[in-house]
Symmetry: C2
Subunit: 205 residues, 2 copies
């Protein structure tokens, strides 16, 4: 077993393993884009995901989580691996209407930073219930649009948001700060303080 957590002065847990991997294999592109597609969101390093899942479980061990909610596509892998440590099912919100999703759905709109467009995002009402205690998991948190959309779906159902687990938070953008100010428990395994697309430098918080 790899030891991968360290306690920081800020009182948050970070994950050295993930930071080191971002330093090694991540690349910074113009427009505040961090490419981590060799291990996180196109090709996926499942053993790394296992360590991340274990860490999410440790971080949220005090919460009565009975379901994980994520959004297609790049949140699904991390959420599924993490769910093994929580022994709960995963529901993924879908970005477009499908003929296989009949009946009533909760719907919200999410603006994608990556794709520069607005999606309708839906979850079947069958899979979000007032008695659910939900952990949101996603790969990135930047301006918070995706997470806020998922919170909107959960709260439409009368369910409880127990926490938000993120692989990489872009600390330069306000999403995480605003969510914490609203009282949500946000745990990000790596928080980027700054990055420079000319030098390739990535500084973690």
């Amino acid at each position: 077993m790899i030891k991968c957590g360290k306690y920081t002065k800020e009182g948050g847990w970070t994950m050295e393993l993930l930071e080191k991997r971002i330093q090694k294999d991540g690349t910074v592109k113009p427009g505040n884009v961090l490419k981590v597609d060799s291990f996180l969101n196109h090709q996926m390093d499942i053993e790394l995901f296992g360590e991340m899942g274990r860490e999410f479980q440790r971080l949220f061990a005090d919460k009565p989580i009975n379901k994980i909610l994520t959004i297609e596509a790049s949140g699904i892998g991390i959420a599924c691996i993490a769910a093994q440590y929580f022994h709960v099912p995963v529901v993924f919100a879908k970005k477009s209407q499908s003929i296989n999703l009949d009946g009533d759905v909760y719907c919200t709109k999410i603006e994608s930073f990556t794709h520069k467009r607005i999606y309708d995002v839906i979850v079947s009402k069958k899979y979000l219930k007032p008695e659910d205690h939900i952990l949101i998991i996603d790969d990135f948190l930047a301006n918070g649009c995706a997470v806020n959309g998922l919170i909107d779906l959960i709260e439409s159902a009368g369910a409880t948001v127990e926490g938000i687990g993120i692989a990489i938070e872009k600390g330069q953008q306000a999403g995480g700060k605003l969510l914490r100010e609203k009282g949500y428990r946000v745990e990000s395994l790596a928080v980027i303080e700054s990055m420079n697309d000319e030098t390739g430098e990535i500084v973690f918080r």
Copy 2:
């Protein structure tokens, strides 16, 4: 540990656990639609996925697989859980161009039975190489469009298709038969012989 495989007369392995779950929670809709969104492709039963992953590993244990390829979104969860048993990374093909996927990509077109439309599907050339030995994993096999698209991507890269692992094959449609005739090794954990949307009956092969 749950025992879940049985050897059938046809020489294939099926997975009683999955068949029983389809009988219990699947519903048949007009238009040859089988809804399994309570456990397979919207809400996902991760413990069931674990049994499926273990079974895929057993079925393809003789193959030198170094990577799993799937397609967003509903193949990702099954592929990631299965990858833990193979100790290999997963790559998922993407249904639309993203600014985070720069550089060269392999591209093909896939017609979706579910969504009645044609997608451009891409994989970065960085993650499919001639030396790769690939297992394709997906949730459904019907007319075979998605799997044939993934084969096209793999063969464009000069990589080897070692096999195709499917959760549910619709045996009434020709996709699986045509792939086997071409010499591909296709292993489906449940094969539907027929289903009736009036009675709800589902018969397995």
